[in-house]
Subunit: 386 residues, 2 copies
Amino acid sequence: MKPRMLTPGPTPVPEETLLDLARPVFYHRSAQMKQVLADVLDDLRYVFCTKNLVLPLTCSGTGGMEAAVVNCFAPGRKVLCAHAGRWGERWRNLCRAFGIEAVSVTAPYGQAVRPEQLAAAVAEHPDAAGVCATLSETATGVRHDIEAFGRITAPTPMLLLVDAISGLGVIPCRTDAWGVDVCVTGSQKALMLPPGLAFVSVSERAWTRIDANPPARTFYFDLKKYRDKLLDHETPFTPANTLLRALRLNLKRLRTEGIENVWARHARMAAAARAGMRALGLEIFAAQPADGLTVARVPEGLDGVALLSKLEKNYGIKLAGGQDVLKGKIIRLGHMGYIDQFDVLAALSGLELVLLEMGHGVEPGAGVAAAQRVLAEQVTGLTAAV
Amino acid sequence: MKPRMLTPGPTPVPEETLLDLARPVFYHRSAQMKQVLADVLDDLRYVFCTKNLVLPLTCSGTGGMEAAVVNCFAPGRKVLCAHAGRWGERWRNLCRAFGIEAVSVTAPYGQAVRPEQLAAAVAEHPDAAGVCATLSETATGVRHDIEAFGRITAPTPMLLLVDAISGLGVIPCRTDAWGVDVCVTGSQKALMLPPGLAFVSVSERAWTRIDANPPARTFYFDLKKYRDKLLDHETPFTPANTLLRALRLNLKRLRTEGIENVWARHARMAAAARAGMRALGLEIFAAQPADGLTVARVPEGLDGVALLSKLEKNYGIKLAGGQDVLKGKIIRLGHMGYIDQFDVLAALSGLELVLLEMGHGVEPGAGVAAAQRVLAEQVTGLTAAV
């Protein structure tokens, strides 16, 4: 059986990048490493839409978020955490772990925190040191309006920290233009690598804050150490250097395509996925969906865990289920990075077959036809425009 | 030119493991991942010589050391740091970064901290919460007598934390038998993987201490989170799962050879390397050498940086130089992991050619012949014994 992984991370790695990962390990204090870092730092700026340094850390995305929190906010400060899902809650939990007061600004799972809510919280807590938010809430498939959040925080001294782990390189994320002070992503989503690296961009005003803060109780995640070394294209600690070398290929791929085309590609896939899901009689869970994944409710009376298990066992198609309280209640179809529209079609086809097998009334062909109509509209539109 | 990397980490990855690293990425919350973790945890226990859980963290070795410090020692406590090089000093720096008082017990670079020194410090500071030490000081090539250190700490309430990053899987490290409470290593040394993972074993008495400590100001490095998840063969954060999958192959390799045979193999290579270096007229820098690397002084009047550069440029042989104050003054020949005695012979041959070219008087063939005599003695000895 041919395996197809359409999870919202880790995502498939392009074949030529997989081969690059099989190349011999190289010394990490060398001219070769400096060149890798020079290339990667330049292309990361492009993908992040920032002129600032993007720091690669060897850790998961949570490590990148921890680095952001511990460097930007001194213990005892107050931070507003806009969250509407498991990953947004991670900001809150991180703040608490470091003795920072986290004020929650929330929305129910499946909905997004509205900019008006954040504006009200900012007005109510003028002493807050910053705002933490999530571009794409991977647990629910919701997109937050980070651009609007940035318009709220920019005129204040509050730093805006954004978890863009499943959003960056998928949907628009104009780090500098939107006033995002710290933007975090990971290697295993749109950057199309195995897990193992996080990336953290830091704005000038965030550096000013970091430099003014009392020394952070951290060592491995001390962003100043990374800044000082990266300016010479070195790293403070042994990096996952084969991942960084392979990242070059993926960043070149994104840069060649053009970041706005990358966003458009994901928007197209997401529109097709949503149309297909709806035609299968599934309700889209996210009120304001992010384009890196499509989350649908499991129909009443069906066992969501069994559904996904059958899909994998019978057809080799791996989707993700819900986590925590959403376990068994939603399915999450990832379509970011090296997953294309035909992979999405395959997933919809498999999903339909399993739903039929489980007795869920579906018109055979409805899902893939609906998705295909969305894809066709794009072509028709393009043809008409020429 | 055929490249040969004989650095004390990263070390070469076996060819079949490189190919494994090119296999498609897999989902990290899956039955496959549970099986990978089950296998890896079992074999790590074997390599660590411990019955306790060995926690894999996605970070560099320093991250593993930070996890050890921040979980074991509350801020304001006092810790004895036995150090005689850059990596031992990392313990001290880590402690300070977390508000822990670090009392140094030191020896000059090239020498080892003696057990009597540690015993005196332990007697002088009965209020210390623990001792941090380094099995193999990669900066100088020195081995510390961790077994003797353990005899000093075991009867006290002090925890013994050991950086075994370039020592574990190279030289004897009997974690449980020696009373090592927390033992740390990294993926990129004797475990023969690219950098990206650290491994931390934790003794029962260390867990008792960790559980009794006030909640540590950490999130990503909270060892309790790892313990709780690993008991179900899961991880708290997205792990570098392709590295863990590949690690299985390398751990099976070590287990098949037998850990004592692995130690003996490294001892043999190290004896050959030292004999070869001496025959080239080079002084061994380490008074009590570790067997994972051989460190020699650059002869008076020779430029050490130029020497290593020539060796790489002319012969494809990559050794490491000195760091910080030792820069240009020493050369470090790594022979751990997937580097064998014939690679060492190649390095000695190249080194001799470069020394001759730079005008250092050497009897041509002296280095390789001396090394070969050591290797031959082993065979003769074995033959005689049969």
